[in-house]
Amino acid sequence: MSSATHQIDQIAWLRDPDVQRMLRVRDDDEAAFGELVEAYQNRLIGIFTHVLHDSSAAEDLAQEAFLRVYRARHRYQPTAKFATWLFRIANNLATNRLRSLSRRKEVSMKGSDSGQQSLPNPAQLAAEKSALMPTRQLDNQEMREVVRQSLDTLNDRQRIALLLNKFEHMSYADIAASMDLSVQAVKSLLTRARENLRLQLEPYLTGSPERGSN
C-alpha cells in the first residue's frame, strides 16, 4: 500500500465516529466506552448467540470482547474501522470457544469440508403437521427452526463469515480483516456457505414433491 493510499485510509478511518469514541476511550473517557458498549452489545451478542446457541455464553463472550477492547485502549491505533477491530476480537473469542467446546464435546460440531449436513426431510416435516398442509405454509416458528438448523450445517468459518455478511453488512475486505483471511478466501467461504444454505432451504421454498396442488 502506498503511503498516500495509507494516509487516505487513515483519514477515512478517523471519520468513523466509533473510532473517534475509541480515541476518547484511549484517553480514559469511561463515558465514551459506555457509548461503544451500548452501540455494539446487541450486535455482538447476536453474532455470538447464532454461533454458540447459548445466550448466557454469548453475553459472557461479548463482555470479554469489551474487556479486551478496554484493556488495549492505551495502545489503540486507528488502522481500520472500529467495527472491524471489534469483530476481529469477537471472531478470535468465538473460534477459541468453539474449539474448546468441541474438545469437551458439549456441542456436536459436525462440519465437514463442505460444511454440509442433511436436515429432516421437508416432506416428512410437512406430513407431520398435516398431509394437506403445504410446506410453504409452515409457520414462522417452524421456518425459523429450519433456518437455524440449516445454519448449523455450515462449518464454523462459513457460519461466522455469513453472519458478518448478513447481519453486519460487512464488505468482503472487512470480513477478511476480521477473520484474518484473504478477500478471495472470504469469497470462497461465502460462496460455499450460501450454496449450502440454498441446497438446504430450497425444498422449503419450492415445497415437498409429494404436496398436492391447492
Partner: protein, 174 residues
C-alpha cells in the same frame, strides 16, 4: 447449474463486490440465461430467510455490568483471564509474565553460581598439582645440591661399575 466460479461471481454481484466490468458481464448473463436467473433468485430467497432468525438483545444492565467488571479489573490489575488473549491486542504485563521474568533471573543467577563454583574448583585443582609434585619429589629436592655436583646419572653408573668405591671386596691392608 453454474460452475463454482460462476456462483462466486453471482454472489459477489449480489453483495455489490464486483468491479464494474464483471458486474456488467453478470448482468448480461442474467438477461440471456434463465438458469442463471433461477440460481440468483434461489440464492436471494434463501439468504433472505436468515431474517427469520431471532434477534438477540443484551440483558438489562449488561452495559453497567461490563463497566463494573472493568472497574473491578482496574482495582485488581493482575486479574487472570480464562480466554486465550487475542493476537490482535498488544498485551499488558500480567502476573505470569513477571513470574517468568523473575524465574529466568533466578535460573540465570543459579547458573552463574554453578559456573563460578565449578571454575573455582577447577582452578583449585590446577593450583594444587604443583604442590603435590613438590611433595612427591621432596627427597630429591633435599639432596639437590649434592646431585648437582654429581652431574648426570651415567657418570654415577660409570663410577659404580669401576669398583673404585666398592669397600666390601677389598682386603684390609697390613
Amino acid at each position: 447449474m453454474s460452475s463454482d466460479k460462476e456462483k462466486e461471481e453471482l454472489i459477489a454481484y449480489l453483495d455489490g463486490e464486483l468491479p464494474d466490468e464483471s458486474a456488467l458481464r453478470v448482468e448480461k448473463s442474467l438477461v440471456d440465461d434463465a438458469a442463471v436467473r433461477s440460481d440468483v433468485e434461489q440464492m436471494t430467497k434463501t439468504f433472505d430467510l436468515l431474517d427469520l432468525l431471532p434477534v438477540s438483545k443484551a440483558s438489562d444492565g449488561f452495559a453497567e455490568k461490563t463497566l463494573t467488571a472493568i472497574r473491578t479489573q482496574q482495582s485488581v490489575p493482575n486479574t487472570k483471564n480464562t480466554e486465550k488473549p487475542s493476537p490482535v491486542e498488544k498485551f499488558q504485563p500480567d502476573v505470569s509474565r513477571y513470574a517468568i521474568a523473575w524465574g529466568i533471573r533466578v535460573v540465570a543467577f543459579l547458573g552463574l553460581m554453578f559456573v563460578a563454583t565449578a571454575g573455582f574448583n577447577g582452578a583449585f585443582k590446577q593450583s594444587s598439582k604443583p604442590i603435590d609434585e613438590l611433595l612427591t619429589e621432596f627427597p630429591v629436592i633435599q639432596r639437590l645440591d649434592e646431585y648437582q655436583e654429581i652431574g648426570d646419572v651415567e657418570f654415577l653408573k660409570t663410577l659404580s661399575e669401576s669398583g673404585l668405591f666398592d669397600e666390601r671386596d677389598k682386603a684390609p691392608q697390613d
